[in-house]
Symmetry: C2
Subunit: 549 residues, 2 copies
Amino acid sequence: MKLKLVAVLLASAIAMPAHADVLVDNVSGITIDADGKVKRFEALVIDDDGKVAQLIERGQERPRTDYLEDAGGKVMLPGFIDAHGHVSSVGFNAMTLDLSGTNSLEEALEAIRVFAAENEARPWILGRGWNQEKWGLGRFPTAAELDSVVSDRPVWLNRVDGHAGWGNSLALRAAGIDAKTVSPAGGRIEKLADGKTPSGVFVDMAMGLVEKVVPAPRPVERDLALAEAQKVLHAQGITAMADMGTTIEDWQSFRRAGDNGTLTLRIMSYAAGPDQMVLLGGSGPSPWLYDDKLRMNGVKLYLDGALGSRGAWLKEPYADDPHNTGLPLTPPAALRNILVRAAQGGFQPAIHAIGTAANAEALNAIGEIAESFDGDRRWRIEHVQIVDPADLPKLAEHGIISSMQPVHQTSDMFMAEARLGPDRLGGAYAWNTILEMGGRLAFGSDAPVESADPFAGLAASITRSNAAGEPFGGWRPQERVNREQALAGFTSEAAFAGFAEGRFGRLIPGERADFVLVDVDPLMATPDEIRATRVHETWVGGQKVYDAD
Amino acid sequence: MKLKLVAVLLASAIAMPAHADVLVDNVSGITIDADGKVKRFEALVIDDDGKVAQLIERGQERPRTDYLEDAGGKVMLPGFIDAHGHVSSVGFNAMTLDLSGTNSLEEALEAIRVFAAENEARPWILGRGWNQEKWGLGRFPTAAELDSVVSDRPVWLNRVDGHAGWGNSLALRAAGIDAKTVSPAGGRIEKLADGKTPSGVFVDMAMGLVEKVVPAPRPVERDLALAEAQKVLHAQGITAMADMGTTIEDWQSFRRAGDNGTLTLRIMSYAAGPDQMVLLGGSGPSPWLYDDKLRMNGVKLYLDGALGSRGAWLKEPYADDPHNTGLPLTPPAALRNILVRAAQGGFQPAIHAIGTAANAEALNAIGEIAESFDGDRRWRIEHVQIVDPADLPKLAEHGIISSMQPVHQTSDMFMAEARLGPDRLGGAYAWNTILEMGGRLAFGSDAPVESADPFAGLAASITRSNAAGEPFGGWRPQERVNREQALAGFTSEAAFAGFAEGRFGRLIPGERADFVLVDVDPLMATPDEIRATRVHETWVGGQKVYDAD
């Protein structure tokens, strides 16, 4: 894509401003419009603040601008907004061993051996992405298996869902774990067949036993991770993310990037619990900072764990573990106390709820509290994966936003059937029902738990099938959304879920000129074509932040 | 002072800019100039960035500007910079009981009784400023004495120097203090005559035993305290302060004010120890933020306590306590380790050293480390109160800055004689010797330990006498500085000590237009007149932030 200079005399006569009016012409432009409907256009004008000045439709006259970009007929979409991700973790993930592509324990062990050999200077070998289900192992892996490939340094590897960790013997020794160590509340130390010896795998709150001895990243590593996250996300067409569980260290890193002018990703921050909420925000959310690049919106709370590790909190026991109903993580009184404190400060709560009991608890707590607080609160429930059908109508009350991750459905569907049995899935990933009942959906990825790729999310949301096309016709296909709803979920609705409407998320005059140029029209293409979309360029606030060439 | 509108047509034809060119005319202007010498002027032009555009000398033509302010012949000085203060504490101080004006234990107890009655809603009664020396008590006060006026709530009162605290019985009970409680390292629990029962007074690190149970201020209280501090300081003519011991909670409050546009005080921040240094700054100092209103410069370290509580670390025992050499607070290896870590990150260390041993240790450590680090480091020693004369020449090495508080000298002089005896004062508050040997002085107040009033500081620094004129002719008068040196210490040199030269501290073109309009010329007036100076207006960045009318 070539930059053509218009009005050369003017430009050479005065100092070049940081921004100038730019006409991006010759696009096949698509956006959700102010009325919530899809709008198509042929060109877009960016003003000198990096905002959309004008959309130009077919046959409409082009205005004179300082610069002209010819997009060569590419598809222009609003920059994608990931309504649920973990910014720093995306970056650290890119810097650590990734086991998500491994298909067997043997393959994983070999990858670990190679990574350790290639990173001799690192005192700990850290990684993530393992999944004993995908390996077909039928059990968790063990510390001894890890020892067989790395015995000179501690190794600590997160499960793909972030709800379990796997350490070698040196990691367990560093953490002082032995047969006498007791599982903490909300967590479980897995044991070997003898029922006593720790196996090396730690579920949910038990992960902290080892994590507390892993050396904390230094600020320079955090700043690298943020830069890496921005690179990874922009390359996938993402221009904004809701950061779920921001710590003060994350926040300081975001601010350093903002202060230094290197923040290109828009971050809507949800603090990691009530103490961090107060530390990050003070007595209320921050203002929008750095030209709408950063805002501390609210607080992330956890009501349960995840399905894969059987930490999701269910009303009835797991079908494949009849004495287990999961791990409730926040007692009822504490939840209500935190929600009231948050609401009093104007902080937006974002409540992680995966299982039926957790979702019921979130809905009940919001129902009890919402009446006491005026105004536009946008109570968020994160994941909303398995809801008791009897509770679904409550998702349309009190302005609740269901923040969901389409790819979780296609990754988890078979596991969900195993965990719950076929008869308890009536409210599983119930996107269409939520919309039909009048609820609001915001879409995200939970990156780095899943890839942040929004095109995989779009394809999953309109098909309920995975990349292999399975199951044919889609899993519980009545819960598909249409293409316009899918696009809105990843753009305008994800912005609304973070109080960002009017600032970004749509290509309409006055909002920030955040867009991508791609080779596929997601409203017309096949699901396979959507999955194969190539992102050519990503722009944030009228500035190019990614160019595939 | 009246604002006159010039170029009315222009102003009414276009929207008013946030700033516009302003001519402040008819002043008796004084500044330290670029060459370090005093310069006088009659008018000053502020540009639309709030910086000094031009100084106009006698008889020089005035340029045309958008606005004209006639200062009515008042004295214009650069805004005062306090090189050592505690911003949040100045604010909290203004919000809590102040006992610094009390002249006897009885008077103090009555003030406490009245304050508690007037503040029934407060769960703790907090205050500061008591001084048993001033009361002529000859001993510390006791918990039982406090109980006699407040027995329904805990009471906790800081000594005037911040190095001791006095609690009532409920405060001791809340902290779980009894006869079996052991004094922590670096601290001392005072005892009653039986040698066992805690008296109610806690020195230095022992203060933490009670402070840890005092409810922490909420963000809204922190933000109020900052607003209060700005009000108090601007009313005294102060436009910038080095904040000594910034915590993350302080920092977040400063940033909230910056983000919301309510930060009017320029703050040079020194983090409260190495952990906060990394949390606040990351891998190095912050940029200058909010138009030079805030920068995280470095780290504050403590080598000892204070003279009043006999916490200052001396080479020889106290003259009035022959078994005590004070409380060294940072072991030698830890000090060197922290200094190296700070220097590696480009953080500026500011080392609190009051006694002869502490100053020797600071100088030795800097001497050992400075050679390994290139560049302009500006190692700061804070207070530099009692230096062994043999060590004085080292204060002129390695670009060390002696950050000193003139009023401490006049407050402490008789106490210092008692603590050290008359023969060990050769290097006490040795301002002139430090300058003559080639060292650099920055002046401050240690507010709220002392009043921030810079005119009291100017008067003390040129007289070595207190407000009562005692001792006649000055205490060790050979250590007076001249008026120009005094003004520089509170303006240009205090800016240099915080890497702010070229940004603020002088009224020269390109620096921020921070100034005060007062009724006294401190280069001409008597010390009494200087002490009685009235601040009419205070301006920061070309904006009026205080007006006495």
